[in-house]
Amino acid sequence: MKTEWIGVDPRGLRTQALECDPGPRRTTTRELPSPYDVPEGLKVTIDEDTHSVEIQFIYAGESEPLVTAVSDREVQIQIGRHSRRIHYLRLDGERIPGSRPIGDPLKALIEAIDKLIETTVYSSPDARACANYVIARAAVQENAHKAISSATARSSYGHRSSAV
């Protein structure tokens, strides 16, 4: 099992979320995610035996109870019960009979976050949560891809064909 701690640029990540606001906005003010909602870093854990990837988002402040927001055959996402911040992304790489092969774990994780954003925007609009998910997506895409790519290149991921 390989674990890697990755630092992120919180200021840069926050600017990515400024467009994610479904509500009206005044021209004279700017609402943006507070530093509380921007992760400080990522902890990427890769199990090359089970082909699982887990990404933990590190935030400043106290811990909080978590709930599962997304749980399908491949990906599980845990968010804060009250804050709705993404805390954990888990990709189960073991093949389940009948499922499609997972060619690109990073792509699967990004797709899961996109699905969560879509669900949030349309079912329970929450600009704060939506902004956090956009930030998390950017953090994973910009920072975690190296760790995931280098680890999965050594495993059997590289031998599977991309199904998507």
Partner: protein
């Protein structure tokens, strides 16, 4: 703002004394009422001295303990203010332009901590002549009350902002931040130094999410109004606990969110810890 240290200390001391004295009395009387003999006779004698019976004295003792506890709850944890106010003072040093901090009085640039309270049993001044809490509102409407402020002055304030369940009617910058749970960059407000017109007052009220009557009340008391305001939320275990509002007499004193990122992050982290332990 509950910032009267002497009154709080007095209340806390009195409350502790009441709880101690009546707590001991309650224990003693409770034991005495069950045991026949000298103890019971002494308790009955004491009750007669106060013009009541043993049951009545037990009740009065319980009342004393309750009153003492209420005083202690009202006084709050002194450590909360010991941590919160220096934190706001530090935030103030970093959140405003240094040149203005150096030349202006301290109270021209402030950081205020508002706490969300579901219940507010009394409001003064009344918001409406017939209803202290305002039209269609009551003590359980939800309120944002200032509990700590940077500096040594302008701490005696009765300002109270509505933070109701129908969040569209939340009042003030504090109410807006509470509603959105996000950071608000500096709002530049109209200059109100010279006698403002009705249009300027209306614009100020709209920009700051308050009623025109509140602005007029401040102007009638010749109080100075902020030239710019900003703020961010304070959380406790993921739930919004309150709001910190930065306000300045100048329109360009509050630094940008990018410049204030680290200061706000540290304040949010330490304030969350403070409220988790001492509130």
């Amino acid at each position: 703002m509950r910032n009267n240290h002497k009154a709080r200390n007095l209340a806390r001391g009195a409350g502790t004394l009441l709880v101690t004295v009546f707590g001991i009395a309650l224990t003693w009387l409770g034991t005495a009422s069950k045991v026949d003999g000298v103890l019971k006779n002494a308790a009955t004698f004491l009750a007669n001295l106060f013009g009541t019976d043993l049951g009545g004295l037990l009740f009065l003792s319980a009342l004393g303990v309750g009153l003492g506890e209420l005083l202690r709850v009202w006084a709050g944890d002194p450590k909360f203010y010991q941590f919160a106010e220096p934190l706001l003072d530090s935030l103030r040093r970093y959140a405003f332009a240094a040149n203005y901090l150096a030349q202006d009085p301290e109270h021209h640039h402030r950081a205020t901590l508002f706490r969300y309270r579901r219940f507010k049993w009394w409001v003064w001044p009344w918001r409406k002549w017939c209803n202290p809490w305002g039209a269609g509102r009551g003590p359980f409407s939800g309120w944002l009350e200032p509990v700590a402020r940077s500096g040594h002055a302008t701490k005696k304030t009765r300002i109270l902002f509505l933070a109701p369940d129908d969040a569209d009617h939340a009042e003030g910058i504090a109410g807006h931040i509470w509603r959105c749970k996000r950071e608000l960059s500096a709002i530049v407000l109209p200059n109100m130094n010279s006698p403002p017109t009705d249009a300027q007052i209306a614009e100020y009220a709209e920009q700051s999410w308050v009623d025109v009557s509140l602005i007029k009340r401040y102007l009638s008391k010749q109080s100075s109004l902020p030239g710019s305001m900003a703020g961010f939320p304070i959380f406790k275990s993921g739930q919004i606990w309150g709001v910190v509002v930065l306000d300045s007499r100048r329109q360009d004193a509050i630094k940008s969110p990018e410049e204030n990122f680290v200061a706000i992050k540290i304040t949010q982290t330490l304030m969350e810890r403070t409220v988790a332990v001492h509130s």
